[in-house]
C-alpha cells in the first residue's frame, strides 16, 4: 500500500502475455509479460527506443500487437469490435508525452470534448460542474478560457491529465509525464499522479525514464531492456543490482543530479 491506496493483488486490470511487436525488421517488443493490479501504480522505465511507448500504445489499442495477449479489464483489445474498443476506452485515460491538447480549442472545449461526445444526454450544467471539478483537481481553474498555446509545459500536462480524468477512468496510462519539465514542475506532476490514484481510485501505468518520477509514484518498477522486462519490483529492489544495463541508467541520472547540484551551487 502506498499513498493510502490498497492494491488488490487478486484483480488484474491489465494482463499482457508474450507480447511481440515489430516495425519492419526492428523488433521492439519481444515476448513481454506484464500485470497491472487494481489500485497499483506500475512504472515502466527504460532507455529511449526500448519500446515503452509502443507498449502503452498497444495497451490502448492504438497499435496492434503482432503476437501475444493484451487483456484490459477482461477484454482482449486486439480481438474486440470497434464499438467494444470505444466502450473500453471510456475506462482508460491516456496522458500523452506531448499533452496532445487540441490546438484550436480552449481549455474548456478540450475538457468538454470527450464528455459531450460520449455522454449524449448530459446537461450543460453537469458539463460545467464536471469541468470545474476536474480543473480544481489539477489546480488550474483560472485557465478555463485559455488556448493551449497560452499555457506553460506543466500546465499543458495538467490539462491533458484533466481531460482524461473527466470521464473518470479506471486505468490511467501516462506516457513520459515529466518529460521536458523543470524539477519543481516535475515534482508537482508526480504529486498529481499520486493524488489521481487516491481521489479517482485508478490503477496507473507510468512510462518514464525519470528516476524521481519512478521513486515518487511507483508502487512497483519494471525495467524494460531489448523489448522485454529485465527486472521488476520495488524501486530499491530494481536499482540494487550489479547489472550494468540498470546501473548505467542509474549512474547517468546520478551524474545529471550531481551536475544540477553543482550548477545550483555555482549560481
Amino acid at each position: 500500500m502506498k499513498n493510502g491506496v490498497k492494491i488488490d493483488r487478486n484483480n488484474r486490470v491489465i494482463f499482457v502475455k508474450d507480447l511481440e511487436k515489430s516495425f519492419g525488421e526492428l523488433n521492439v517488443l519481444s515476448g513481454l509479460n506484464m500485470d497491472l493490479f487494481k489500485g497499483e501504480n506500475l512504472v515502466v522505465m527504460g532507455r529511449s527506443g526500448s519500446g515503452k511507448s509502443v507498449l502503452i500504445k498497444v495497451i490502448s489499442g492504438l497499435l496492434k500487437p503482432d503476437k501475444g495477449v493484451v487483456n484490459v479489464l477482461g477484454q482482449e483489445v486486439d480481438k474486440i469490435s470497434t464499438e467494444e474498443l470505444q466502450a473500453l476506452r471510456l475506462k482508460i485515460g491516456f496522458s500523452f508525452q506531448s499533452s496532445a491538447l487540441y490546438d484550436s480549442m480552449t481549455v474548456r472545449e478540450n475538457l468538454e470534448f470527450p464528455l459531450v461526445r460520449n455522454l449524449k444526454n448530459i446537461k450543460s450544467k453537469e458539463v460545467d460542474k464536471a469541468i470545474e471539478e476536474v480543473l480544481e483537481n489539477v489546480d488550474l481553474p483560472q485557465t478555463i478560457n485559455q488556448l493551449p498555446s497560452e499555457l506553460s509545459g506543466g500546465q499543458k500536462k495538467r490539462i491533458g491529465i484533466a481531460r482524461t480524468l473527466i470521464l473518470k477512468p479506471e486505468i490511467m496510462l501516462y506516457d513520459e509525464p515529466t518529460a521536458g519539465l523543470d524539477p519543481i514542475t516535475s515534482v508537482e506532476i508526480n504529486n498529481l499522479i499520486n493524488e489521481v490514484q487516491q481521489k479517482y481510485n485508478t490503477s496507473s501505468l507510468i512510462i518514464t525514464h525519470d528516476l524521481t518520477c519512478a521513486k515518487l509514484t511507483g508502487d512497483r518498477v519494471a525495467m524494460i531492456v531489448d523489448g522485454n522486462f529485465l527486472t521488476q519490483g520495488s524501486f530499491d529492489d530494481v536499482f540494487n543490482t550489479n547489472d550494468e544495463r540498470i546501473r548505467g541508467f542509474y549512474n547517468y541520472n546520478f551524474i545529471n543530479d550531481n551536475t544540477n547540484k553543482k550548477l545550483n551551487n555555482f549560481k
Binding site: L101, R117, N118
Partner: protein, 262 residues
C-alpha cells in the same frame, strides 16, 4: 547502358511503393464512404466546416471572379470587334465562365486555400498526437475530422462555383456597360440565352467531383503525415499539387463525357 542490380532494386521498390500508395488512397476513399453513411452523423461539425470552407473563401472568390470576368471580356473584345461581333460578348463570356472557368478556377483556388489548410491542419494534429488523443477518448477521428471536411467542401464547392459565375458575369457586365452602354437586363438576357441545362449540369457535376478531390487529397495527406514539422509542410504541399493535377485530369474526362451526350 543496362541498369545494374541496385538500380533495378530501386526501380522495383519505387513501383511497389506507387501501387501501395494507390491501394492506400482507395482504402481511404472506401473508408470515407463507409463512415459517411453510417451513424452517428456529425451534422454540427459539418456545418462548422461548411462555414470554414465556404464563408471564409468568399472574399477570395469574389475578387478572382470579378477580375476574371472583367479581364476575359476586355481581352476578347478586340477579336470580336474586328469582325463586328462585339454584341456576342455576353454569350461568349457566359459560356466560357459557366462551362469552364468558374468550376476550374474556383476548384484551383480552393485547392490552394482549403486543400493546403486541411493538409497542414490534419498533419499537425497527426504529428502532435492529437488524432491519437481523439481516438483514445473514444471518438472516431476519421469520422470527425475527415468525413466532415470532405463532405463540407463537396457541398460548398458547387455553391462557390455558382457564386464565382455570378461575380464573373458582373465583372464582365461592368466592362461591357462601360464600352457599349449595354443595360443590365439586355446583358443578362443575352448571356443566359446561350446557356443550356447541360452547361449548368456539367458545371455542377465538375464542382462536386473537384470538391471531393480537393477534400480527399488534403485529408489523405494530412491524416497520413509523418516525420514531424517537415511532414506537415510536405502534406500541405502534396495536397495542393495532387489536387490541382487531378482537377485537370477530371476536367478533361468530364468535358469528353458531356460533349459525347451534348
Amino acid at each position: 547502358m543496362e541498369p545494374n542490380s541496385k538500380q533495378k532494386f530501386i526501380i522495383s521498390k519505387k513501383i511497389d511503393e506507387f501501387f501501395i500508395d494507390i491501394y492506400k488512397v482507395f482504402s481511404f476513399i472506401s473508408r470515407f464512404f463507409k463512415e459517411a453513411f453510417s451513424p452517428p452523423f456529425e451534422f454540427q461539425e459539418i456545418i462548422k466546416q461548411c462555414y470554414e470552407v465556404g464563408y471564409k473563401s468568399l472574399v477570395l472568390i469574389s475578387l478572382t471572379g470579378f477580375i476574371t470576368g472583367l479581364v476575359f471580356t476586355k481581352q476578347s473584345r478586340p477579336s470580336l470587334s474586328s469582325f463586328g461581333a462585339s454584341s456576342w460578348l455576353p454569350s461568349l463570356v457566359s459560356i466560357a465562365i459557366v462551362r469552364a472557368m468558374a468550376p476550374l478556377i474556383t476548384a484551383l483556388i480552393t485547392a490552394g486555400k482549403v486543400g493546403s489548410h486541411m493538409g497542414a491542419e490534419l498533419g499537425s494534429m497527426k504529428v502532435t498526437e492529437q488524432i491519437d488523443a481523439m481516438e483514445v477518448s473514444a471518438t472516431n477521428p476519421f469520422k470527425f475530422l475527415v468525413v466532415t471536411r470532405v463532405l463540407a467542401i463537396t457541398l460548398m464547392l458547387p455553391i462557390l462555383v455558382m457564386y464565382f459565375g455570378f461575380i464573373g458575369m458582373m465583372g464582365s457586365f461592368m466592362n461591357v456597360h462601360a464600352n457599349e452602354l449595354t443595360s443590365y437586363t439586355a446583358f443578362f438576357k443575352e448571356a443566359f440565352s446561350s446557356i443550356s441545362f447541360l452547361d449548368i449540369f456539367s458545371s455542377v457535376l465538375k464542382s462536386i467531383v473537384f470538391g471531393f478531390t480537393v477534400g480527399i487529397a488534403g485529408c489523405y495527406q494530412g491524416y497520413n503525415a509523418q516525420y514531424g514539422t517537415v511532414g506537415v509542410g510536405k502534406a500541405a504541399n502534396t495536397a495542393v499539387v495532387v489536387a490541382m493535377f487531378l482537377i485537370f485530369i477530371e476536367e478533361m474526362i468530364i468535358v469528353q463525357f458531356v460533349n459525347a451526350i451534348r
